[in-house]
């Protein structure tokens, strides 16, 4: 076991972990932002995108949006529970968050299967290429978030030792949610 290093805090009362997560999120903004920017300019300059997007299921995607937004709500409640030291409430809310993520991925799987069976594969057109790339990369990030939330559930669920971890996991999860907040209208509604 190595020596324990504790950063007491940086001006503003913010912790090192939070600074690190926000730097990470800044780089992630650039990743998704780059893809989304490319999509937007291509779409504005091209044709046939709106017709292609009509083959997507707006119902499933709207459901997914509600699911993900709700899971953001549950993870922030998990943090509130963690701050109070309520391990039972923490387990419930984190569990609900993980469940939300799994439902999201499940619905996406249904979408992908339906679309591919109908012949809308990634190489079926430029709209589909962007659709699968953006939602696929997003789904991988959702999966990563589920894993992180699971780890936090295991380490903090038996007795809250470090509520800060829940907050940090929440920051990442909210970010993934915000990306979807933009993907939904960009791909499904416009």
């Amino acid at each position: 076991m190595m020596a324990h290093l504790e950063a007491e805090g940086i001006p503003g009362g913010i912790t090192a972990g939070k600074v690190a997560v926000w730097w990470f999120l800044a780089s992630e903004i650039m990743v998704f932002g780059g893809l989304i920017t490319s999509y937007i300019v291509f779409r504005l300059g091209g044709s046939g995108w709106a017709e292609a997007s009509h083959h997507l299921s707006m119902t499933l995607a709207a459901t997914n949006t509600l699911v993900l937004l709700t899971s953001s709500y549950t993870i922030v409640q998990a943090f509130v529970a963690a701050e109070r030291g309520g391990a039972t409430a923490l387990r419930m809310y984190l569990g609900l968050t993980i469940l939300g993520g799994l439902i999201f991925l499940g619905i996406k799987a249904v979408e992908y299967t339906t679309e591919i069976r109908a012949g809308f594969t990634p190489d079926a057109g430029i709209f589909w290429s962007f659709y699968y790339t953006m939602t696929g990369l997003h789904a991988l990030h959702v999966l990563g978030g589920i894993v992180v939330n699971g780890v936090v559930l295991v380490t903090e669920g038996r007795g809250v030792k470090n509520p800060h971890r829940v907050e940090l996991a929440g920051l990442y999860w909210h970010f993934v949610d915000v990306v979807w907040i933009f993907l939904f209208p960009l791909l499904y509604l416009a």
């Binding site: 007491e8 650039m30 091209g46």
Partner: protein
């Protein structure tokens, strides 16, 4: 304030040398990997130069090569030098070693993340090595990987080599993202008492600027690389016009990152030189705050110059003027830094120790490279010189200055602190002078042959009648390159000599004022004894009037005068 409870822990071989979380060991792991790749990248360059000088002759150890293999040499030379030599050495090794010591911390704020980042880099290296061994060979679409050539395996004949190239770079990006987050958070969180941001040495500021540039610029390329990989594997059409895509998108996304990336490579080296010059002039650095300001301005501007790499790409001509303007503007902050360096030397008490020689070599060679940048950055002039060897000369004068002259300035300067031994002085002088001479013999002729019309990435210049009279320049450059490779031998001997017979290094062989010299050479695990140092002044207090010594260490308590 930092609370550090140090326990004496027994570390076995594996946790001391292989799976270490100590920033100093991790630094050496980055350095070792970087030096390995320097050898590979240098040999690739030697093979390239041999082919260019004597196109119809077999290359030693390789045989006769055709254009496809030559493309692979060119591609991997560039990729390796930028991502597997410059970044691991300048950022990974020196950033890791210096940052905690210079700010008075015991380690990075996330030591295990640090270990993960160096192991991710090792994985990236393995993937890149594997790319040489798969059928079809390694990537051959240029270090810039432009589609359509890179988007379809059939165009290059390289299938898995290019896919692995993309994956290897993705892993390298992940490694440096992790490292960058660690560096930034560490400097924000773990500075010793009294170490305000305006007392932090410039080497650290430059590491932070480089980390920030990388963190904020690599995202769009990651997106673009995913798109390229999908074009190659799933037949998507991001970069294919007949499928609704556009190859120009890649160029924009690549260079949006690519330009900040060259400053990611340059800034750490600037930092080393900015540390060395004051020490060996016995004068404070000139304009410390303005240098930081200039760095921030240059870093910000670096995000709005990228299309100067695309003047002849067929992009909208209306973009040429704005990007020329911003490119000329960015020369201003860098010129300030150069002037500040010269002003630091002015009327200084110059010592020509080996680190200083390298720093002066950086300064002079970088000025040459910077001057040709002005021609490259103006669209009308660039229309003529783009894609020629004039550009190759420009970026070697700037990048080589950074990686080699700046890098060796850092190596010779901090070697005693890192390894506890001195390097051999005479061998160091020999290494420097030979490198300086043969660097110029290799790269200066490229200005001429570029202006004469030799374009980049061609395997046989003699197939162009107009180039035949200028071929002697290629031959000259090749002799220079081979001698340049040989000129590194004194350095290798010096390392061996130091290991076998080198003098133990004192704590502060250069009488330098910054905080890392307050630690033993080499520093022990957790760097400082029972408590971290307390800092009382900036890092450049040399020749202070009224003081007995010509330097004041940062951690020397002021004597109370009655």
């Amino acid at each position: 304030m930092i609370m550090a409870t140090a326990e004496h822990v027994e570390h076995g071989f594996w946790t001391t040398y292989i799976f270490s979380t100590d920033h100093k060991t991790i630094a050496k792991q980055y350095l070792a990997q970087g030096l390995f790749w320097t050898l590979v990248g240098g040999l690739l360059a030697g093979a390239m130069r041999w082919q260019l000088a004597w196109p119809d002759t077999p290359i030693p150890l390789m045989g006769e090569i055709g254009p496809e293999v030559y493309n692979t040499l060119v591609t991997m030379h560039g990729t390796i030098m930028v991502f597997f030599v410059a970044m691991p050495i300048l950022l990974g090794a020196f950033g890791n070693f210096l940052i905690p010591l210079m700010i008075g911390a015991r380690d990075m704020v996330f030591p295990r993340l640090n270990m993960l980042s160096v192991w991710t880099f090792a994985l990236a290296s393995l993937v890149m090595l594997a790319s040489f061994l798969v059928p079809g060979g390694a990537a051959s679409a240029g270090w810039t990987g432009y589609p359509p050539l890179s988007a379809k395996a059939a165009y290059t004949g390289v299938h898995w080599g290019l896919n692995l190239w993309i994956l290897g770079l993705a892993l390298e990006f992940a490694s440096f993202l992790m490292g960058g987050i660690n560096y930034l958070t560490t400097v924000i969180a773990l500075r010793a008492p009294g170490m305000t941001l305006t007392r932090v040495p410039l080497a650290v500021w430059q590491q932070l600027a480089a980390a920030t540039l990388f963190l904020l610029s690599v995202g769009p390329l990651i997106g673009g690389a995913v798109m390229l990989l999908l074009d190659r594997t799933l037949d998507t059409g991001f970069y294919s016009p007949d499928l609704g895509g556009d190859p120009l998108l890649w160029q924009h996304l690549f260079w949006f990152f690519g330009h900040p990336e060259v400053y990611v490579v340059l800034l750490p080296a600037l930092g080393f030189v900015l540390e060395v010059l004051p020490v060996f002039s016995r004068k404070p650095i000139f304009g410390y705050r303005w240098i930081i300001g200039a760095t921030v301005v240059a870093a910000a501007l670096s995000f709005i110059v990228w299309a100067h790499h695309m003047f002849i790409s067929g992009m909208d001509p209306r973009l040429a003027m704005p990007f020329s303007v911003t490119t000329i503007l960015i020369s201003v902050p860098f010129a300030y830094v150069v002037f500040a360096m010269i002003a630091t030397l002015w009327r200084g008490s110059i010592r020509f120790d080996v680190p200083m020689l390298w720093a002066l070599g950086f300064l002079t060679m970088f000025i040459v490279g910077g001057l040709t940048g002005i021609f490259n950055g103006s669209a009308p002039a660039d229309l003529y010189v783009s894609r020629t060897y004039f550009v190759v000369a420009h970026f070697h004068y700037t990048l080589f200055s950074a990686v080699v002259f700046g890098g060796f300035a850092g190596v010779y300067y901090w070697f005693p602190k890192m390894f506890g031994r001195m390097l051999n002085g005479p061998l160091g002088h020999l290494h420097f002078w030979l490198t300086l001479i043969f660097f110029n013999v290799t790269f200066f002729p490229m200005h001429h042959i570029g202006l004469a019309g030799m374009v980049r990435r061609i395997a046989n210049p003699l197939q162009y009648d107009g180039l035949v009279p200028h071929q002697w320049l290629n031959v000259l450059a090749t002799y220079g390159a081979l001698c340049l490779l040989a000129a590194q031998i004194p350095f290798v001997i010096s390392i061996l000599w130091s290991w076998l017979a080198g003098k133990p290094a004192p704590r502060n062989p250069w009488n330098a004022a910054s905080l890392e010299w307050a630690a033993p050479s080499p520093p022990p695990h957790l760097n400082w004894g029972p408590s971290v140092p307390r800092v009382y002044r900036g890092a450049y207090e040399y020749s202070v009037p009224g003081e007995r010594e010509d330097w004041l260490p940062q951690d020397l308590a002021p004597i109370a005068r009655p």
